[in-house]
């Protein structure tokens, strides 16, 4: 019995770490799901836009002295605006042709954004110190210590995921979005400006990625590659949850973070692979994903 208790204590940090990673998976896959549902574009630039969010927060702090809290609002707005410009000037031209072109274009954009950041800031990574007030949230349970900032990340990510879900499922604007995901032409024939909705949806999805980037800045070093590390796993999350499913992407994000954390305890070598094994199994048994409509 004592052995088990000891094991659980040992496992706790990894499991919590896993759930925190899961929070980032959820935020990122949520944005991807919203964008895919509405625009039918697989946004490969999502990781780079996450990175851009972290860098904008860093630039606001080190160049303009703008602190964490304003950055948490400003960086998503700035990166979201960049997203709007990308959609208007480039992505909007691809809606009538094959998915593959959207994927190629956004992948190219990701390379350009990462390249520009690497050129300007190098690849070693910048430090972004979390604001001191988070010490008040520090959690200590026996030997287990959880820094207050990570508690905040969990709260903020869950709140934003829940709010996004509520907006999509329970509001008038959300009903436009759901309807336009099913039949964009008919929704436009009802008098709704669907092209504008698509632009704003892309901007909002990108802003979600940037928000995750700002949240991540104090935890991970702010480097051009930080998004690329996440995004591969996030695509696996999206496939497992079901392309375009909102609730599915949130639940799957947290769940896979947790599974990764647990795997880290019992079989550390497999922790990076386990997500892809699950993806393969899901693809073989439920090709539309756990929450997807076939």
């Amino acid at each position: 019995m004592e052995d088990l208790l000891f094991e659980i204590q040992l496992a706790m940090p990894q499991v919590v770490l896993g759930v925190i990673n899961g929070a980032f998976y959820a935020l990122l896959s949520l944005g991807l799901a919203v964008i895919f549902g509405m625009l039918n574009v697989i946004n490969f630039a999502h990781g780079a836009q996450f990175t851009l969010g972290a860098f904008v927060a860093w630039m606001l702090l080190s160049w303009l002295g703008v602190g964490y809290w304003p950055a948490l609002i400003l960086a998503p707005l700035i990166v979201g605006a960049i997203g709007v410009a990308m959609e208007r000037t480039m992505i909007a031209r691809l809606y009538r042709i094959d998915h593959l072109y959207g994927l190629l274009l956004t992948f190219g954009c990701a390379l350009v954004i990462e390249g520009l950041l690497r050129n300007s800031f190098g690849s070693s990574g910048q430090r972004y110190a979390p604001p001191r007030e988070f010490a008040a949230l520090d959690l200590e349970l026996g030997d287990f210590f959880l820094p207050g900032y990570r508690v905040w990340v969990l709260i903020a990510a869950s709140t934003v995921c829940l709010a996004t879900w509520l907006i999509i499922e329970k509001t008038k604007v959300g009903s436009y979005l759901r309807a336009a995901t099913e039949r964009p032409q008919l929704v436009q024939a009802f008098g709704i400006n669907v092209p504008l909705m698509m632009t704003l949806t892309y901007g909002a999805g990108v802003a979600l990625a940037a928000f995750a980037g700002v949240l991540a800045a104090p935890i991970y070093s702010v480097s051009p590659a930080m998004g690329a590390n996440f995004i591969i796993t996030v695509f696996a999350v999206v496939v497992i949850g079901g392309m375009g499913s909102i609730a599915g992407s949130i639940v799957t994000g947290f769940m896979l973070g947790l599974i990764q954390g647990i795997t880290e305890v019992f079989w550390p070598e497999a922790s990076q692979t386990v997500v892809f094994v699950i993806m393969a199994v899901v693809l073989l048994t439920r090709p539309a994903g756990l929450f997807g409509r076939a």
Partner: protein
């Protein structure tokens, strides 16, 4: 019949889906308050005519004047806001929306539409099943919902694509009663039909469509006398 006072005036309308040329010079006039049908076989271009008026086909040429304004160059959402509402053949009920959300989806574009209360009086089922998923309704209820939601918006011209299709005779009668009801309320209707016996019970005039153009026009009171002609056109 050329008519300068027509509410909707379609002249030499041609339309394409990609490479495929679907309308070859449609000419239609509809006056305020009329119910007019497009009769014709499958593939004659009836649905394409409605879609072209709504701006939902590919390239279009010719002219579509609604209350004197040219619609040909407008985006579909602006055509809708000018006062034309469209109810598609497959009804277009959204699976991810409940009945109320489906009903409230089209924005109100002008005063003069039916209030929610009036709609529930006309279609009591929609109130009873307000929280059901839209596509869980029966075919008849879905058709009622599809029409009800465009009566709310204040649009003055309704384009209805085969509202009787695939429905039981008793439901078709209800739909007919409803179209007569909305005509009395001053709505103007362009109706696509294959079933001319149904069309006869609701319409003022009929256009016969073949190969993407109007080939004949029959007033409703002449319809019975013109049955042979119609049988030939429609192949029934």
């Amino acid at each position: 019949m050329a008519d300068a006072t027509a509410m909707l005036q379609v002249r030499d309308l041609e339309a394409w889906y990609g490479e495929s040329h679907v309308l070859h010079g449609m000419n239609i006039d509809i006056r305020q308050g009329e119910v007019v049908t497009l009769l014709g076989r499958n593939g004659a271009g009836k649905t394409s005519t409605l879609r072209a008026i709504m701006g939902l086909t590919g390239r279009r040429t010719g002219s579509i004047k609604f209350e004197g304004r040219e619609m040909l160059t407008l985006r579909p959402d602006l055509i809708a806001r000018a006062g034309i509402a469209y109810c598609p053949e497959e009804r277009g009920i959204f699976a991810s929306l409940d009945v109320t959300e489906n009903l409230m989806l089209p924005p109100v574009i002008a005063p003069g539409g039916l209030s929610l209360e009036e709609i529930y009086t006309l279609f009591p089922n929609l109130k009873e099943r307000a929280r059901s998923q839209g596509t869980k309704l029966s075919g008849g209820e879905q058709q009622m919902l599809a029409i009800a939601r465009i009566l709310r918006t204040g649009a003055r011209l309704l384009l209805l694509d085969e509202p009787s299709e695939g429905l039981a005779p008793v439901i078709v009668q209800q739909i007919g009663a409803m179209i007569r009801n909305i005509k009395q309320r001053g709505f103007t209707v362009l109706l696509v039909e294959q079933n001319f016996r149904f069309a006869q019970t609701v319409a003022d005039r009929h256009y016969v469509v073949e190969h993407g153009r109007v080939v004949d026009e029959v007033a409703n009171h002449e319809l019975t006398a013109s049955l042979d002609r119609l049988h030939e056109y429609l192949g029934v």
